[in-house]
């Protein structure tokens, strides 16, 4: 039992150490971002534009459900006009960044792990080394930059759409019945810039986690098609876990 626990701790420490080494090396290659601009734009398109429709749809429904459930409870207490503040704060500080990042981890992080993993398994990364092309610069750096930029942008979209969804439901649902003007008045009063910035900081960190984990798991892939499949799953599980842990730490730190 103790041996097994020790092994788990050692593996975790090794993974974190290697991930840190990958982060340092990727950050080092940020100096070559201009040279790799075409790859960065391609990744931005994949992460940002590719995820936008599903992120918008997800946020719309989350905003609507949040307004519906919270609004009906607030109405029982007669304070339903506060619904704008609740939806706005939830979307800006927590739901927007976390759910968008989870979506990115599922959609983009897994595909990064599969793509880099396939390149690892089929010796493409070895070929890159013999061509004296650093795989971290060529593969990880554009993906990390794209995620660091795209996830906060998606979070902004997510916030706007989620808040709008909540406003529509608050207005048209007879049990809540809060006009849009009241909804926005309360929201604007409750929300200040620091709250939005908190959300954006979280989104940037989570975006970095998704790219880093996706690339790390991809680089460490072994064992053919089965290994690539496992890498995909592992990247999603690891990203989710790390996002939740980082979310708690960032919330605590920025309180």
């Amino acid at each position: 039992m103790l041996t097994r626990l020790g092994q788990i701790l050692l593996t975790t420490a090794q993974n974190l150490g290697e991930m840190l080494a990958l982060l340092v090396e990727t950050l080092f290659y940020f100096k070559d971002a201009f040279r790799n601009r075409v790859a960065i734009v391609a990744q931005l398109y994949e992460v940002g534009v590719g995820t936008l429709p599903i992120a918008v749809l997800m946020s719309l429904f989350i905003g609507m459900v949040l307004a519906l459930q919270t609004g009906s409870q607030l109405a029982l207490l007669g304070v339903q006009e506060k619904i704008g503040a609740i939806v706005g704060l939830s979307m800006a500080k927590e739901l927007g960044p976390v759910l968008t990042s989870l979506l990115i981890a599922g959609r983009v992080g897994s595909s990064m792990a599969a793509e880099v993993g396939a390149m690892q398994v089929y010796e493409e990364i070895d070929a890159m080394r013999t061509l004296e092309i650093n795989p971290v610069r060529y593969l990880a750096m554009p993906r990390l930059i794209a995620c660091l930029l795209a996830v906060p942008m998606l979070t902004v979209f997510s916030f706007i759409v989620g808040v709008t969804g909540g406003a529509v439901i608050s207005d048209i649902n007879p049990a809540i019945n809060v006009p849009m003007t009241v909804y926005y008045d309360v929201l604007v009063r409750a929300l200040d810039m620091s709250e939005i910035l908190n959300g954006l900081v979280k989104a940037t960190v989570f975006g970095g986690i998704v790219a880093l984990v996706g690339c790390y798991v991809g680089f460490k892939t072994t064992g053919g098609a089965r290994g690539i499949g496992q890498a995909t799953t592992r990247s999603v599980v690891m990203s989710f876990l790390m996002i939740f842990i980082a979310d708690y730490l960032l919330t605590r730190f920025m309180m």
Binding site: E18, A21, L22, V24, E25, F28, A118, M119, Y122, E123, E124, D126, A127, M128, R129, T130, L131, E132, I133, N134, P135, V136, R137, Y138, F219
Partner: protein, 288 residues
Amino acid sequence: MADQQHRDKNKVSFFNRLTHSFSQMTVETSISRQAYETSRGIGIKIRNLSKSFNGQPVLKSINLEIQPGEVFSIIGASGTGKSVLLRHLAKLLKPDSGEILIDNENINFEPGLLIEQKYRYSMVFQTSALFNSLTVGENIGLWLREKDVLPERRIRRVIREKLRLVGLAGREPMNISELSGGMKKRVAIARSLAMNPDLIFYDEPTAELDPVTTDELARVIANLKDKVDLTTIIVSHDLNFALYLSDRVAMMHDGEIIEIGTPEEIKKSKNPLVRRFLYTTTKGIQGK
């Protein structure tokens, strides 16, 4: 003064270690156009090289010397450690013990020495290892574009020339998924040749090729040998191919080199393991 230089070198090494540890010290160096246009055969010395995987020895104290400009083949049955030896030379594996000297420099996988690498090498992988997300032309031109060695017009000309050399003229826009196994291998060879290397490694180059294409490949390598000053190392179990092309051949068995010599010397070897490998019914030497 010497102390200062030593300290400076250590400083660089520490920084490189910090910023390149994940990629196992894949340090990118730049190359001038003048250096690109000249290649030279370089020599290799391997001393007491050993490697084990999970406690299972794969290379057992290998000693080998390859002369500059030589076409050298390593033959042997599957699973005898040929490809593992080649991957050490290409710096893709780190030995457990022993040393490899390429161009009289010890490649001990330390960062400082990698930066000082003064030769170019390339490798043709058994699986071809082409980049699936790039077209045929982009694969061949990747190194030239990444290193910014030549102007774009010149790069396109090099791509055209190398494709013609491997019998695939005009296939630049094709996707890798559209190619047959043999075509992939030839594109991989063209990609390696585009580097104008001093040292080229072929890992089972004929594994997926039909006899006619194998002949064409043999002609390409023989042609390069005559026209370009480079060292060629071939790992293969295609006996006739290796014996036809090579200046010298080494035979590996169970992680050891059991015979080494010119093709004629190998054919006359009295070693029963060599004879058993050479004179098989279906793929052995004809006429014996």
